[in-house]
């Protein structure tokens, strides 16, 4: 009878201490060199999409920000993450809008529900080119229900629409919830890391991967920066 409160206290202490001593890894992703210029996309063959863009959109393979910031880089804990296998109950959504994928890079946990939505007035086909996971290809005409699926193995999967050849996105299926995608300033942040040794991996669809080892000892923020070499074409 008495063990229960003691256990509870211990548990609370454990949770509190792990929260108190949770470290953060943060930093910035940049590039060196000159990235290939992203070409404007001619959506003339799909007027319903073309008219959604006041000015032509460009390809999103390499998206950069000020001060050589590199966007759309998936930064994640590739080893040492304490929550491997905890699948979030909330679904992630991949939207087709204006004949573009939103977001361009979508991160999900293995076995997390993936919802694919077509918000356009045209048919798309969603063709994730999985190699480790199952490769499928489904048509999604306007107004049809979302396609719901999940991937059970970690993999970076290119997604294309065969009807609209310029459409291109990426799925990053990870076995961790500790991830971030670099935004406009190239910044990323991986909070809530209990003390331990971690490998942080940064992945860019065109420039490849980089890793860094980090040790978190307590309630601290470790700076880790990644610099990718730009491909000229």
């Amino acid at each position: 009878m008495r063990t229960k409160p003691i256990l509870l206290t211990l548990l609370t202490l454990l949770v509190c201490s792990s929260l108190m001593f949770a470290g953060t890894v943060s930093g910035k992703v940049t590039y060196t060199g000159t990235p290939a210029k992203q070409k404007p996309i001619d959506m003339g063959k799909e007027p319903s999409c073309a008219k959604q863009h006041a000015t032509p959109v460009t390809g999103e393979t390499v998206v950069t920000g000020p001060d050589n910031a590199l966007e759309n880089v998936v930064v994640y804990v590739s080893s040492g993450a304490p929550d491997d296998g905890q699948v979030p109950s909330q679904a992630v959504t991949f939207e087709q809008k204006g004949c573009q994928y939103i977001p361009h890079v979508l991160v999900m946990h293995t076995n997390q529900e993936l919802k694919i939505v077509n918000s356009d007035q045209t048919s798309h086909n969603i063709h994730p080119l999985a190699k480790v996971n199952r490769e499928w290809n489904k048509s999604q005409p306007p107004g049809t229900a979302p396609i719901v699926d999940k991937y059970d193995k970690p993999e970076f999967i290119s997604v294309k629409c065969n009807v609209h050849p310029w459409m291109h996105g990426e799925f990053a299926v990870l076995s961790t919830n500790h991830y971030d995608v670099s935004k406009g300033g190239g910044d990323f942040k991986l909070p809530n890391l209990p003390p331990g040794k971690y490998t942080i991996t940064a992945w860019h669809e065109d420039y490849g991967t980089q890793t860094a080892d980090v040790t978190i000892t307590g309630n601290e923020t470790k700076d880790v920066n990644f610099t990718f070499k730009a491909k000229a074409y």
């Binding site: 490769e135 290809n137 048509s139 999604q140 005409p141 107004g143 065969n162 050849p165």
Partner: protein
């Protein structure tokens, strides 16, 4: 000097012979190559009453298949560079002609039928010269190249309802679906494989690929995954995996699918069949389709009849 030379020569010949021996040994030793996971002896296929054994398929595979599909099933046979479309890569276990949903493994029967039927518009011949037992053994053999066969079961074959009557109405509805589902974007409005996206298509290995041209050819032997109306039904419902052709199983109702089949048959303008007879009787004119049971006022952006 001469003695030395001959000694060197001898040594050279010897080492060459040794190397050749090792090479031959090395070639013969692995049954399946580095990527294979399945045991040669235990792998089987089941087609009706036939049971195929991978071990019994090895010799035939080496003799008839490896030239294109490669000793290791990785589509890197010595002829592969000359072929278009490329041979199937058995190490990824993605197959075009299935009775099962997109992303799933085909049934043994699907693979068996593919071997016996061959693939039109490709270099894969009709292997009906091989006995049913030989073909069943080959089905078992190609499974050893991918671990997927160990971990996954074949998909459930899709359910195909009895074919509906071929009528002008059915053809008209099929045409409406062909337009609405945008089949024409690749296949062209007359099914000649010349739609606006046709020239941009690539398969999952980035090789250029052409959409099917319905209008070419005189009979129906040119369909990739079989000649019957049921086979056409299967193609668009299951999709042709590894190619740009998606599955429409989630978006076409089973009976509507038959209407689409009937319309697709009329795109085969030189074919003698019921669909073209019905169309000729109507002087070749497909009337605009009128939905007799329109869906209740659907919100904007909802296509009627999409089921959702």
């Amino acid at each position: 000097m001469r003695v030395f030379k001959s000694v060197y020569g001898c040594a050279g010949v010897l080492s060459l012979a040794l190397a050749a021996g090792v090479a031959v040994w090395g070639q013969d030793a692995p049954d399946t190559g580095p990527k294979a996971r399945l045991a040669l002896k235990a792998t089987e296929s089941h087609i009706g009453n036939l049971t195929g054994h991978a071990a019994d398929g090895k010799t035939d595979y080496r003799r008839y298949c490896a030239g294109c599909h490669g000793d290791y099933g990785d589509a890197n046979g010595e002829n592969a560079v000359w072929l278009d479309p490329k041979p199937r890569d058995f190490t990824i276990a993605t197959f075009k002609c299935r009775s099962t949903l997109t992303g799933t493994l085909p049934t043994d029967e699907d693979l068996y039928n593919s071997i016996g039927r061959g693939f039109t518009n490709s270099n894969m011949p009709i292997w009906n010269t091989l006995s049913p037992q030989q073909r069943a053994n080959l089905v078992a053999y190609i499974k050893i190249f991918s671990p997927r066969w160990d971990k996954e079961k074949a998909g459930e074959p899709i359910k195909i309802p009895a074919e509906t009557a071929v009528t002008l109405d059915s053809i008209a509805h099929g045409k409406a679906l062909f337009t609405k589902l945008e089949c024409w974007k690749c296949h062209g409005s007359h099914g000649e494989g010349d739609g606006p996206s046709a020239s941009t298509l690539t398969d999952s290995k980035d090789n250029p690929i052409r959409p099917y041209n319905f209008a070419a050819g005189k009979d129906d032997s040119r369909f990739k995954c079989g000649n019957s109306n049921q086979d056409i039904y299967k193609i668009f419902m299951t999709g042709v995996d590894g190619t740009p052709m998606p599955s429409f199983a989630d978006v076409i109702q089973p009976n509507d699918a038959w209407d689409l089949v009937h319309f697709l048959r009329t795109l085969q303008i030189n074919r003698h069949g019921k669909e073209n007879e019905v169309l000729s009787a109507a002087h070749g004119v497909i009337p605009p389709y009128v939905d007799k049971n329109p869906a209740p006022a659907a919100p904007e952006n909802k296509a009627p009849g999409s089921g959702q």
